[in-house]
């Protein structure tokens, strides 16, 4: 019964958790992300974010050298020196994230202790926390899970009754959701991560947590340990998912169902109207999602149930069956859900099934396009305002756009017959 859960191992084509810095630095502009790693790590971040021109750097890498590896230099002294130089240059930084990498994890550099020590020295001025974004431990969005978990001990305690939205949201989406929850009757709604790293939300027994993102396993555990109740709901992608997600919170706050329906019904009607043109394009199209961000299950559920797409294979880098239980229940019977990856074999399957759309990383997107397979590069989903009932149309548009584009330009770019000349 339910989805057909499978596992695969082999070569993977995914980002490491360091990549989370690319969006976290914008969410919290007063924070700095210092990766402790190699030139490879520095290169990754620079390649990913370097197309933007920064007058003030928001992230950097303390590059381990041969001296650090040979134990010639005390790595901790070096790190202290680099961190202090950095803070001197950027006195406005309020939170410094020391981000672990593969090299620092392999040589067992104790960044937690380093963060503690720096905290003692810089007391009050800058808070230093640590998390790992290494590829050997984390995949892409896992990095955000690590960063939010690391903020855990800094969250103040409260008994106040509140709703906490956890996971990075676009500013406009956040404002909109808070506005809607207020209209529904939940007065205190806060977000983690906040827009300023110093304005951390409090947490405690009165806190109800709604995860906005599916990749926050450790953050959820941390919040439970702090006494919060983490609700189990589908994730707020698409009109249906978002509505169920909001209703779950409303039930927890004992809000009258007719009041909830009164607020949400018009939203849902409008969402269906916005979805219609995209549904027309997506209906009946076959889609494969390759593993990338753990958003895949929620997206597949939305694309199948609200856009009428047919799911060929749904890949995910990691499957937390407890957090994803509600999503799994909504997938059609027998949907292939593949945890892990053997990229070459997975590509063989993609070519064999020749789907209408493949959701994949940028390392694979252009090569697949060149083979005539339409792709939607998946990273964009982490950088786009896609959450909530009002965003359902925009979310569908992200998937219909590549198909529309191909329809629009293919006849001209790949002419098959000669046009008759005008003066025949």
């Amino acid at each position: 019964m339910g989805a057909n859960l499978q596992k695969e191992s082999g070569p993977r084509e995914v980002f490491c958790g360091l990549t989370s810095i690319v969006w976290l630095h914008r969410r919290m502009p007063d924070a700095f992300f210092l990766v402790v790693g190699s030139r490879t790590c520095a290169h990754l971040i620079q390649s990913a974010a370097g197309v933007m021109i920064f007058a003030e750097p928001r992230f950097g890498t303390a590059i381990l050298s041969e001296r650090d590896l040979a134990g010639l230099a005390d790595a901790h002294d070096e790190l202290d020196r680099v961190a202090k130089e950095l803070l001197q240059r950027r006195p406005e930084i309020r939170t410094l994230f020391l981000v672990g990498s593969c090299p620092s994890e392999v040589i067992k550099l104790d960044l937690a202790r380093a963060a503690e020590r720096l905290n003692d020295e810089l007391h009050g001025r800058v808070r230093v926390v640590n998390y790992s974004g290494s590829g050997i431990e984390t995949t892409f969005t896992d990095g955000e899970d690590g960063a939010l978990t690391a903020l855990g001990p800094l969250l103040p305690s409260t008994d106040e009754r509140q709703l906490l939205l956890v996971g990075t949201l676009a500013d406009a989406v956040e404002d909109r959701l808070i506005h809607l929850f207020t209209r529904l009757g939940i007065q205190t709604v806060r977000s983690l991560p906040p827009r300023q790293s110093t304005e951390l939300p409090p947490v405690g027994p009165g806190t109800t947590v709604l995860l906005t993102q599916p990749f926050l396993s450790n953050t959820a555990r941390m919040l439970r340990d702090r006494g919060a109740r983490v609700l189990s709901a589908p994730f707020p992608l698409g009109a249906e998912g978002s509505r169920r997600w909001m209703e779950t919170a409303c039930r927890d706050f004992n809000l009258p169902a007719d009041r909830v329906a009164e607020v949400l019904d018009p939203l849902e009607r409008r969402a269906h109207q916005a979805l219609a043109p995209h549904r027309q394009i997506l209906q009946g199209k076959r889609i494969v999602l390759l593993p990338e961000s753990q958003l895949e299950l929620s997206l597949a559920r939305f694309l199948q149930r609200e856009c009428g797409m047919e799911l060929v294979e749904v890949g995910t880098p990691y499957l937390n069956r407890e957090l994803m239980a509600e999503e799994l229940a909504l997938l059609p019977e027998g949907t292939t859900v593949m945890e892990g990856q053997h990229v070459d074999r997975q590509l063989d399957r993609v070519r064999d099934s020749h789907p209408d759309l493949v959701v994949c990383g940028m390392g694979l997107a252009n090569p697949l396009e060149a083979e005539g397979i339409t792709t939607k590069w998946s990273i964009e989903l982490v950088f786009s305002p896609i959450h909530g009932i009002d965003q359902a149309g925009d979310l569908a548009e992200l998937f219909s756009r590549p198909l529309r584009r191909r329809q629009r330009i293919e006849p001209a770019l790949h002419p098959t017959t000669l046009h008759p000349t005008v003066h025949a």
Binding site: P11, R12, E13, V14, F15, C16, G17, L18, T19, S38, R39, T40, L44, Q46, S47, A48, G50, V51, I53, F54, A55, E56, P57, L64, S65, E66, L69, R89, C102, P103, E105, V106, I107, S134, G135, I136, E137, T139, D344, G361, M362, G363, L364, A365, N366, P367, E369, A370
Partner: protein, 504 residues
């Protein structure tokens, strides 16, 4: 290259490097690289077995003509010796193990070493007992002379079009191109390298060690001049012709075939004279840029540096000729500090210098890697040869304020649209970025500088009248002058004194 596959022992996540090729170079195929992508849980097991399995799978699936095997920075720490493992697997194709010390060497060194090892391994059987080579053998054989182009690669700066341009340049002069490597070369092409009369080393950072090995072992000489700029292209042609025993080309060929010389001579360019330029990049492009700026565009080079330590000596020599001390560093903060110190009117650098130039509010053009996607353009845009010089003229002059606008802003400073630092030809409103003279602007009567000098209100006012891009330099000169004379206060008179003193 084609037909060469690379097995890279690396943790999950290092596949980000594929994006450099699929996005920045916009390639329509996956790079021929298989990663072992080990994870934390593999570290408890047998990572060496993982390497062997990956090598076997890659060899079977892709059937390459040659296999490179190496490790990334993290794999280097766990020391599985993947190269040696692969060599012991009795594969049918040649296996080239790579030793690339990730904690002491960088990208260009890695590319140079890999090309060198590949050429060395594949050509070893052909090496003669005594290197003997006649660059003029083509005459006796009754054919056109033939050269290899060595150095162009993906993720190099404009390599795609440089190859086309140099090929065209040589063909016009009756010289054929044998093999281009590594860009687009196959294993078979590498084996044909010794059949050329001469090696053309287009990118020394990548190909010098290979060229030098072939010179030692086969006796094939290689060119030292990189044809970027009109003058350098001429020198390059003379070098090639002389080595091949051809009559050198006419001295005015560059003037006839490139538009840079006339564009630069035309009166519209007069205002470019003495514009202060700061240059930073890889060794090859920095040296070439310095020559173009100084000799062909009439700029004044006020800073020259490189991150290529392997090219440090050549860059120091070039800097010395300009009366400068070369900046050899890979610390972008040091570059930024040097840039601020010299207060240039134009920065020619890498993608990183664009950040610093934005911060300092300076016009900037990219002349070298590291670069991003906008520097792999669809249009033909070489840096080398006659057309390369045309591209360079446009690209380097474009960020500067146009002549008329510069004059008018110097005359009338109260406009509501064309304000200080504004460059209307770039199509946006407002200044071009941060204000270079911000540290002491204030409304108090006297503003103290960091050095203890004080500008009087009338001194400040006079300074504000100096056109935007040279204001930084005038401020610096005036302060230097005041210190030399022991003045503690800088008035408008001091400013004019300094101006006369420094003749600028």
């Amino acid at each position: 290259m084609r037909g060469v596959h690379y097995v890279l022992h690396a943790p999950q996540g290092d596949t980000y490097a594929d994006l450099l090729f699929t996005m920045i170079e916009r390639r329509g195929e996956r790079p021929p690289v298989t990663y072992t992508t080990f994870q934390a849980r593999d570290l408890g097991g047998d990572t060496a077995e993982l390497v062997k399995r990956t090598v076997r799978e890659a060899a079977e699936r892709f059937q390459p003509e040659a296999l490179l095997v190496g490790e990334s920075c993290t794999a280097e720490l766990i020391q599985d010796q993947p190269g040696a493992l692969a060599q012991g697997m009795n594969l049918t194709m040649p296996v080239v193990p790579l030793e690339l010390p990730a904690y002491s060497k960088k990208e260009n060194w890695g590319a140079s070493e890999t090309l060198y090892q590949l050429i060395r391994n594949l050509l070893k059987p052909q090496v003669p007992d005594q290197p003997q080579h006649d660059t003029q053998a083509w005459k006796a054989e009754g054919r056109r002379p033939r050269v290899n182009l060595l150095g162009p690669s993906l993720l190099g700066f404009r390599c795609r079009d440089d190859v086309l341009e140099v090929q065209r340049l040589l063909t016009v002069h009756g010289v054929d191109v044998g093999v281009v490597a590594p860009l687009g070369a196959s294993v078979n092409d590498i084996q044909r390298l010794p059949q050329a009369d001469l090696n053309v080393c287009l990118y020394p950072e990548i190909a010098e060690s290979s060229c030098s090995w072939m010179e030692r072992n086969f006796g094939i000489p290689f060119t030292r001049t990189v044809p970027i700029g009109v003058g350098a292209t001429h020198s390059f042609l003379v070098e090639v012709h002389t080595l091949l025993g051809l009559e050198p080309p006419a001295a005015d060929e560059g003037y006839q075939r490139s538009r840079l010389p006339w564009y630069s001579e035309s009166v519209d360019s007069t205002y470019l004279t003495g514009k202060r330029v700061f240059i930073f990049g890889d060794g090859t492009h920095a040296i070439a840029a310095a020559r173009i700026c100084q000799e062909e565009l009439g700029f004044e080079v006020v800073g020259l540096g490189t991150y290529s330590r392997e090219m440090a000596r050549a860059v120091r020599a070039a800097a010395k000729q300009l009366g400068l001390e070369a900046l050899i560093t890979d610390d972008y903060l040091e570059v930024e500090a040097a840039m601020a110190e010299t207060a240039p009117e134009l920065v020619l650098g890498t993608q990183m210098e664009r950040h610093s130039a934005k911060r300092l509010g300076l016009p900037c053009a990219v002349i070298s890697t590291p670069m991003h996607v906008q520097d792999v353009p669809a249009r033909t845009s070489p840096q080398m040869g006659w057309e390369g010089a045309n591209v360079i003229f446009d690209a380097w002059v474009h960020p500067l304020m146009m002549g008329l606008e510069e004059h008018l802003i110097g005359m009338f400073r109260h406009d509501f649209e064309f304000v200080d630092g504004h460059q209307s030809h770039l199509g946006h409103s407002g200044g071009s970025g941060a204000d270079t003279e911000s540290p002491t602007t204030s409304n108090t009567d006297q503003a103290k500088t960091a050095t203890g000098l004080a500008w009087t209100a009338d001194g400040e006012a006079e300074l504000r009248k100096i056109p935007f891009f040279v204001r930084g330099k005038v401020r610096r000169n005036t302060e230097t002058y005041a210190r030399e004379k022991g003045h503690l206060e800088i008035s408008s008179e001091t400013l004019y004194d300094a101006k006369a003193h420094f003749k600028a």
